[in-house]
């Protein structure tokens, strides 16, 4: 602690027990007990903190805004939490090359706002984009509704300055179109803090599309909605976003924000098309026709920016709407092949029935990224066992359908023990070998992502007194 104070200055590190308890968890369901938290202001500060932790044999856990849902920022017991909240400067913006160098604590939406006057934006838009940080986005390889056409975070990170777990500072990737050698940048994105801490991130900025069109399609059955999703993709149209909401969540959202969603539809699709005005108009007509051909009972095209904003407000308010139904929710993040959407959804509903739980579904249909939401009241005795068991059943069903564990939230602590469901021992050993190349001592965010390796205390399930 004295070393940290000397390296980072007064207030640069804190160990007050009440404050440390706040760094014991993120927005997910797991909890740990850090030994200290520090707030470096530059790369040298991060490197200093990492070296001090190494000298004292203490693990490190990077933390951005703590909005992660998979426990990626849950510290191993006694760990040093390295908060990036004071690394929050936009260092350089090149409007011609459409790139920016930012520090990891810059918030996703703040970056987009800062370059909006140039007609640019940062494309990945997680639903938490107002609060989540670029560093956290890099750690989880975050997605968002608009990542269908533009790709997830990995497609928008060009280079990273990184402090490795031994304190060395290196640059991964580069601004050039193709950097020589191994793509260590691609390896680092999504590594959830297990390969070091990014201190500067070069991101790609995207031009704002000249034309945007948003459609709301209403369906009397889930199958019709899912068939439309398949048909749109098969037609070769790549929507900017393609979101599905089931009947329960649609009603909940409508009650909450009044976005004009139909209360009696079995499912709705929200489709956004962008590009040049001519192609957007043609695609809008085509999506409407495909929808009707596959059983859409109504197709509504947002007439103006206000209506478009209202439709998106409805979609992005889904979690708020749920919070008003019950105090707690548990959000999953599995991905399944688009063709299996309906089968998997049916299984999800069956799981909800057999566990006597309320389940709602709002998801990125275009890329098959499901977000089944279990809504419950944690004060109900024994509820967590049912919620955990239902979650486990859902994940297994998704994997059985050819899916994967996470679309955009990361593995973290929460899904670590599910990794053997999709990877064999050799696969996991190969991944552990790669991780060890960056972090031979296993001190960088131990206990995350991979089931083997140093395990941190007993952070399994939701301990007594946890609110979820």
């Amino acid at each position: 602690m004295a070393d940290l104070a000397a390296a980072l200055g007064p207030g640069g590190a804190r160990e007050e027990p009440l404050e440390l308890a706040m760094y014991g968890k993120d927005a997910g369901v797991t909890r740990g007990r850090p030994g200290a938290v520090c707030f470096p202001r530059d790369a040298a500060g991060v490197a200093g903190a990492v070296r001090i932790a190494r000298r004292h044999g203490v693990p490190i856990v990077p933390r951005g805004s703590g909005t992660g849902l998979a426990g990626g920022a849950t510290p191993a017991d006694g760990a040093l939490v390295v908060s990036t909240t004071r690394l929050n400067r936009i260092l350089a913006v090149d409007e011609h090359e459409r790139t920016a160098w930012v520090e990891p604590g810059v918030l996703n939406l703040d970056l987009t706002r800062a370059v909006a006057h140039l007609g640019l934006h940062y494309a990945p838009d997680p639903s938490s984009q107002q609060a989540c940080s670029i560093g956290g986005n890099v750690a989880t390889n975050a997605g968002g509704p608009h990542c269908l056409a533009s790709g997830v975070t990995s497609a928008h990170v060009l280079a990273l300055d990184v402090v490795l777990p031994d304190g060395a500072e290196v640059r991964l990737g580069g601004l050039e179109p193709d950097t020589a050698g191994y793509d260590l940048r691609g390896c680092f994105v999504g590594s959830e803090g297990t390969m070091g801490i990014a201190t500067r991130v070069a991101v790609r900025l995207s031009p704002d599309p000249p034309a945007v069109s948003t459609l709301l399609l209403e369906f009397a059955s889930l199958d019709a909605a899912a068939a439309t999703v398949g048909a749109v993709i098969a037609e070769g149209i790549v929507p900017a976003a393609l979101e599905m909401m089931d009947a329960e969540i649609t009603r909940a959202v409508e009650d909450y924000v009044g976005a004009g969603f139909p209360r009696d539809a079995a499912a709705i699709l929200l489709v956004e098309l962008d590009g040049r005005p001519g192609s957007v108009a043609a695609d809008t007509a085509a999506v409407g026709e495909l929808g009707r051909a596959h059983g859409a009972r109504r197709v509504r095209v947002a007439a103006d920016e206000a209506e478009r904003a209202l439709l998106w407000k409805g979609r992005k308010s889904a979690f708020g709407a749920i919070a008003r139904i019950a105090p707690d929710y548990y959000l999953h993040d599995a991905v399944v092949p688009r063709t299996r959407l309906v089968d998997v959804l049916r299984t999800v509903y069956d799981v909800a029935d057999t566990h006597a739980l309320t389940m709602m579904n709002v998801f990125h249909a275009g890329d098959g990224n499901l977000h089944p939401l279990i809504v419950f009241d944690a004060s109900e005795p024994g509820i967590w066992d049912r919620v955990a068991s239902a979650g486990d059943a859902i994940l297994r069903a998704c994997i059985a359908a050819g899916g994967v564990l996470s679309g955009e939230h990361g593995i973290g602590l929460e899904k670590r023990d599910h990794m053997p469901l999709i990877f064999g021992p050799d696969d996991l050993a190969a991944q552990a070998g790669l991780r060890a190349a960056f972090d031979p001592d296993g001190r960088a965010n131990p206990g995350k992502v991979l089931p083997e390796g140093s395990r941190c205390g007993e952070i399994a399930g939701a301990p007594e007194g946890t609110w979820i």
Binding site: L18, E19, M22, A27, G66
Partner: protein
């Protein structure tokens, strides 16, 4: 101790963190303990039996109570209420005990001076020479009232159909704003009256400090001073929010009826219809006081009443608190200054150096003016646009005479 907080309110937070960017103290410090989510976590621990220590008290005192987090919260956590109840508990147990100087100053301010507007005006006379003392100018730069303003009483109309609430600090230090408001109300065809005897402070500062007993006593006095059914117009966003909450505070029918009469100045003007204005062609940067924006949720009315006379520019800071926060700029000067720096940068981006800023709250106005910003109340801006002389705003009432 346990906190007298509804466990259901406390359980509503799901730790999502969406409040963090809307919390000015989190933005200033980057610390979880200075965020709504962190403060709720701390409240939960005390609720679960952990002792109240110095750290807990300081985390609670760092909150500016802007309630920007409430507006951002998808789960509808009533954070303002949680914080008020926590502060009540801290005040009633007095453990750990705050320093004697602080207790004395709070007692003088909250219990002696603010409830007595006459005393406050008298003290304000004393402050006029003091505020020019070299050592004090930094702290008193926001106090720009004119001596003549303290001498002239506000004039009520004979047969009023609307009342202007005058309060404490604003009556002493920004009486020119009330003078402008009365002039606008008359120019709109209304006949404004003033509070009867016994009216003083609205009780907001006391409530925010956890002195709910004092707040209720002051609220009853304010209600007695404003009988009848006429609308009550409030120029201070903080006082207006407080008057509107008397129903929940006192839990009586009379208090609910009283609260339903309360309007912020621009809100009333919009409903009633304003006076004819000329287009000044000038640019004004609009600052949204938290208690107008997040609490009363009527910040839009300021823009709508000013729009015919001024070119309006918004701040791009997402409505983050400027750090004034009632007495906050005195109790937490470092955080308040850090928050203000952020607002000042947003003002510069919006209107350049020397921008004229509209603010409908005396606390924000003084806090920003202390940093050299040219802040006017919407009522003063409207008065300057009432036609008459071509440039009524400059050199008019309310200008700082010692900048």
């Amino acid at each position: 101790m346990t906190l007298p907080i509804d466990p259901v309110d406390l359980a509503r937070c799901v730790d999502c963190g969406l409040c963090l960017p809307h919390c000015p103290t989190f933005r200033a410090t980057g610390r979880e303990s200075a965020s709504p989510r962190g403060r709720i976590a701390a409240m939960r621990r005390v609720q679960a039996g952990e002792p109240v220590d110095e750290a807990f008290v300081s985390y609670m005192q760092e909150c500016v109570q802007c309630r920007g987090c409430e507006a951002a919260c998808p789960s509808g956590v009533p954070f303002g209420r949680l914080m008020e109840q926590t502060r009540q508990a801290l005040r009633s147990t007095r453990r750990p005990r705050p320093p004697l100087v602080r207790r004395t100053l709070e007692w003088l301010a909250y219990r002696v001076v603010l409830p007595r507007p006459g005393l406050l005006v008298a003290l304000s006379w004393v402050l006029i020479p003091l505020r020019r003392l070299p050592g004090l100018t930094g702290r008193t730069a926001g106090l720009r009232y004119r001596a003549e303003s303290l001498m002239e009483r506000l004039q009520a109309d004979d047969d009023p159909d609307v009342h202007l609430f005058t309060g404490c600090v604003m009556d002493a230090w920004q009486r020119d704003t009330h003078r402008a408001a009365l002039r606008i109300m008359r120019a709109s065809g209304a006949h404004p009256g003033l509070p009867g005897p016994g009216a003083g402070c609205c009780g907001a500062l006391q409530l925010h400090a956890g002195m709910d007993f004092d707040a209720r006593r002051l609220a009853r006095a304010v209600m007695r001073s404003l009988p009848g059914d006429d609308p009550i117009v409030v120029c201070s966003a903080g006082c207006g929010a407080m008057l509107k909450s008397y129903g929940e505070l006192l839990e009586t029918d009379a208090a609910h009826r009283f609260a339903a009469r309360v309007r912020s100045f621009a809100e009333w003007l919009e409903e009633h219809g304003g006076p004819p204005l000329r287009d000044t062609g000038r640019t004004v940067v609009v600052q949204d006081p938290c208690h107008l924006n997040h609490v009363q949720k009527v910040a839009g009315s300021v823009r709508r009443v000013l729009a015919p006379a001024y070119r309006l520019v918004d701040l791009d800071d997402d409505g983050l608190c400027c750090g004034a926060g009632g007495a906050y700029s005195l109790t937490q000067p470092e955080l308040a200054a850090a928050m203000r720096d952020r607002t000042l940068a947003a003002i510069r981006r919006a209107g350049g150096d020397g921008a004229v800023v509209a603010s409908a709250n005396p606390g924000c106005a003084m806090h920003l003016a202390a940093a050299g910003v040219d802040v006017r109340h919407p009522a003063e801006l409207l008065e300057a646009a009432l036609g008459a002389s071509p440039d009524a705003g400059d050199g008019d009432a309310g200008e700082s005479e010692h900048r």
